[in-house]
Symmetry: C2
Subunit: 339 residues, 2 copies
């Protein structure tokens, strides 16, 4: 139960010095002005009184709030990317910052006011975070102060952007399947959005490198949901030359595939290997069979975005290159050697 009251003046009195001395010592601003003795008394007094500078007063004085604002389109609302906010919060906390989050829930016209609200609160920096990988055109405020993009990127690269390395992720996943001896590998990819395109690129690169012919490639534009995975599986798995392995757009699509395979009496992984994407919590590891998948490093993305903003805030030059965060491949029970 810390006493919530001690001010710098209290500390000064107890230590027998002036308020300014307290401030200087506690902030390490001793330009050779305070005697060693006084310094010790100040520190002791501060500890005794459990003194911490009032952040509100500090903010007013320094014109900095030690607060970052995150605007997101669906991170909070969505069940997938909460770890992004959590990673960001932890990284911020570790450096003495707190985070104000506003989720626009994809509601048009909500973004502007959200940014304004955050600016009005005098946040020191801004982060825009999206639920799915996509381009984002940063508006004025983003370019006018320390800022970063998380899981999205500025097509013109005016802002630091932190995004998952989707290409390598799906290439690695495809390689795993190839190493297991699979040849007919289908990609049930999302739709024509950025992540889907990049994942397809990784898939094709691995397939091509393995010298596979067009007949072995099979890319079906699906969607991102369970039922869409189910339907795509339904159409792909009924063909005579059905694939022996499927790379799914994400774990939900993989769930749909598993559901259809069960219905059709196709055993996974004995007759069909399935790889997901996301490593969605409480899903991938708990499916039957447990799903081999590519993890999306949301927490890390959030943490790095925060780091970028804080570095810029503390004096570094703005670095606008995109950071590609690795997506680790997690091998579980849904993949096996080709039949």
């Amino acid at each position: 139960m810390a006493a919530r009251k001690a001010t710098a003046l209290d500390v000064a009195k107890l230590a027998g010095v002036s308020r300014s001395a307290v401030s200087m010592v506690l902030n390490g601003n001793i330009k050779g002005n305070v005697s060693k003795d006084a310094q010790e008394r100040i520190r002791a007094a501060a500890k005794e009184l459990n003194y911490l500078p009032n952040p509100v007063a500090v903010s007013l004085r320094n014109q900095r709030t030690a607060t970052l604002g995150i605007i997101t389109d669906e991170i909070v609302t969505s069940p997938f990317a909460g770890r992004l906010v959590s990673g960001a919060t932890n990284a911020a906390l570790a450096r003495g910052y707190m985070i104000l989050v506003v989720d626009t829930e994809h509601i048009p016209g909500r973004e502007g006011p959200a940014i304004e609200a955050l600016q009005h609160r005098r946040v020191d920096g801004l982060i825009y975070a999206t639920g799915s990988l996509q381009p984002y055109i940063p508006s004025g405020p983003f370019r006018a102060q320390p800022a970063a993009l998380a899981n999205c990127f500025d097509p013109e690269d005016r802002l630091p952007a932190v995004v998952p390395d989707e290409v390598t992720g799906s290439r690695r996943a495809t390689e795993l399947l190839l190493e297991l001896g699979h040849r007919r590998i289908a990609l049930l990819g999302g739709d024509d959005d950025n992540a889907a395109l990049l994942r397809e690129q990784g898939y094709r690169s691995a397939m091509d490198r393995a010298g596979l012919t067009a007949g072995d490639h099979q890319v079906i534009v699906t969607g991102w949901d369970i039922n869409q995975g189910y339907r795509a599986a339904e159409s792909v798995l009924q063909e005579p030359d059905r694939p022996t392995a499927i790379l799914a757009a994400n774990d939900r699509v993989a769930t749909g595939i598993l559901l259809y395979a069960a219905t059709a009496g196709i055993q996974v992984p004995q007759q069909l290997s399935v790889v997901g994407y996301d490593d969605q919590q409480n899903v991938a590891a708990n499916l039957v069979p447990a799903l081999t998948t590519v993890a999306l490093p949301h927490a890390e993305i959030g943490a790095i975005a925060v780091k970028r903003v804080l570095d810029e805030l503390e004096g570094s030059e703005r670095r606008t290159e995109r950071v590609l965060v690795p997506c680790p491949l997690i091998t579980r029970q849904s993949t096996a050697p080709a039949p």
Copy 2:
């Protein structure tokens, strides 16, 4: 691009009055002191300069930050209850408050420092929110200032608590099944935690009221995950007198049941009705078949908790009764008349 600079002094100058007049007029504190004329000039000047009081200065002066703190054990990290934070944020925003969230991620020893950090930031009120329904013993800070509990409750009811009405929710779900003519209805319930117990209570109350005998009841302690639902279904559905309907602990358990049913060639809903719980986003509505389920009103819980805190903050008496938020039954394709 609003000018970020105008201060009360600028407004005063432009309107030809004193700073205090500006403050009074803009805060509605005119105790008959300012001429109608001056008032209009002030408002006009404020609008012209795009003036908004600097919240940091206001905070320092008023000793209130218009900020609420939420401590949670897994809301942010977890894919399920993000809407709680989102509901809370929106409710707060609507009344001019912002929210600082700290997720302890169930890490022991993190809660104390989190509360301290929030208090240090001078939040005006505190909310403790849990991912799953459970008792929570509020520590000192919670009892010393405006606060509320979301999705958890103080066994001694010293704090307002906002929780889902689990009993009614599962009773309604059971009644739906009974209305469809089912008699042998199994409950694959979580484990011995609060939500599981309450859901079982609702189930039993509906079963008893329908005059069903012990043979028709069947309660299996399962868990909350897909694979656990799968295994429980495996054991329950192989019996000769297998149930014609299952009430699942949650949507993930229901997913496991659907997976097993598909594997075993049991058609849902023709041969087996399944009801979930949670109405988990991107899951319940997209399963195959789409899942009938009981929705957990997370957003509303968050919003009501915020309202409680703000009401207390703005002068109302603390009301410590528990608020039961209804869990609406959502009927989809996984339920049908008994075979």
